[in-house]
Amino acid sequence: MLSNKKVIISIIITSVLGLLIFLVSKTVIKLKHKERIVAQIKTLPHLSVKAIGSKKVEEWSKLGKVTIIIFFNSGCEHCQYEAKSIKQEILAFAGTNILFISDETVEKILAFSKANKLHNNNRVWWLKMNSNDVYNTFGAIGVPHIWIYDEDGKLVKEFKGETRVEAILEWL
C-alpha cells in the first residue's frame, strides 16, 4: 500500500503536470488563432454585423473607398475621445467609410452614436457584432482598436488604443 507521502507527491505531480499541459495547449491554440487572424485582417474581412440606424450593411461592403474600422465600447473613455475627435474633423474624412463596431447592445451603440452626433452622418456606419464574431474576425482585442483599409481593401495601418485624428488622416 502506498504511504501518505507518496500519495501526496503523486497528487502534486499530477496536478502540476495537468495544469501545465492545460495552459501550454490553450496558449498554443490561441497563438495559432492569432496567426490566422493576422493573415485574415490583411485584407478587409467579411463582417458578420447588424447595421444600426437607417443605413444598410451592403452600402459600405463594396470596395472602392477607404474603410476605417473602429472597434469600441461606449463605456471606454478613450473611445469617447476618439469618436468626439472624429466628429470634430469629420469633413476631412471625405471619400471614407467609417465603421464603428461594438459587441454591446443596440441601445448602447445607438446612444453612443447620438451622444457623439454621428448617428446621421453619411460617412459613418454603426454596427453591432457578436462577441464570438469579434473574436473570430479580429482576435482578442482591446478598445479602441482601429484598422485602415485602402480602396482595394488592403490593410494599410492598424492602431491599438486611442489615436489622435491627425495620425489617422495621414493614412487616408
Partner: protein, 212 residues
C-alpha cells in the same frame, strides 16, 4: 515577538524601503519627455491628461508594494516549505521566510544594475527600452523588438539574476537546516523551480489571451 519573527519584520521593512527607493528612482528616470515620445499618437493635451492622471495615482504603487511583496514572500516560502515537508526535513516556516526575503537581494541587484545602465551607459532611451530592459537575460540577448510580445516575460525571467536568486535560496536553506547542498538544490529546483515554470506559463497564457 521572538527573535526570528522580529528579524523577519526588520528584513521586510528594510527590503520595502529599498524597493520604494528603486521605484522612486525609476519614476525619476522616466521623464515627461520620454512619456511624450511614447504617446506620440495622441494629442498633447491628451498626453498631459494621461501624465497628470499617472502622477495623481502614483501613490497607489507605493501602497501596493508591501502588499505585493508580502504575497510573493508568503507564496514562495509556502512552496519551499511544502518541498521540505515532503522530504521530512525539520524546518520552520519563519526560517524559510528569512531566506526568501534575503534572497530577494538578487532582484534588488538587478534593479540597481538597470538604473546604473540607463544613468551611465545608455542615457538616450525610450519607455519600452526602460521597461523591457533586463540585464543579463535572454530577452536582452535577442532584443525585445525582435521577439513576439507574449515571449517577453519568459525571456526576461531566464536571467543571471534569476540564477543568483536560485543560488541564494539554495545556499540559504542549506545553511539554515544544515542540509547537504546537493539535496538543497534538488528541493529548490523541485519546489520553487516547478512553481516558477507554472507562473511563467500562466503569465504567457494571460498575455496571449489579452491579445498581446
Amino acid at each position: 515577538m521572538n527573535k526570528i519573527q522580529y528579524q523577519n519584520t526588520t528584513l521586510f521593512v528594510v527590503f520595502i524601503f529599498l524597493k520604494l527607493g528603486i521605484i522612486i528612482t525609476n519614476n525619476y528616470l522616466i521623464t515627461p519627455d520620454i512619456l511624450y515620445d511614447y504617446y506620440n499618437e495622441l494629442n498633447l493635451s491628451r498626453i498631459d491628461e494621461i501624465i497628470e492622471f499617472q502622477y495623481k495615482w502614483e501613490w497607489i504603487n507605493y501602497v501596493l508594494i508591501p502588499c505585493i511583496y508580502s504575497i510573493k514572500f508568503l507564496i514562495i516560502s509556502f512552496v519551499l516549505y511544502v518541498g521540505h515537508i515532503i522530504i521530512e526535513s525539520k524546518i520552520k516556516f519563519r526560517d524559510i521566510m528569512s531566506v526568501v526575503i534575503v534572497s530577494e537581494v538578487a532582484f534588488i541587484l538587478l534593479d540597481l544594475t538597470k538604473i546604473a545602465w540607463f544613468i551611465f551607459y545608455e542615457p538616450n532611451y525610450s519607455l519600452k527600452d526602460f521597461l523591457f530592459f533586463t540585464p543579463l537575460s535572454l530577452l536582452n540577448f535577442y532584443g525585445y523588438s525582435n521577439v513576439p510580445t507574449w515571449s517577453i516575460y519568459p525571456l526576461q525571467t531566464v536571467s543571471a539574476f534569476q540564477l543568483t536568486y536560485l543560488f541564494f535560496l539554495t545556499y540559504g536553506l542549506h545553511l539554515v537546516i544544515n542540509m547537504p547542498f546537493k539535496k538543497s538544490v534538488g528541493i529548490v529546483a523541485a519546489s520553487y523551480g516547478t512553481g516558477l515554470v507554472l507562473w511563467v506559463t500562466l503569465i504567457t497564457f494571460l498575455t496571449v489571451s489579452i491579445g498581446a
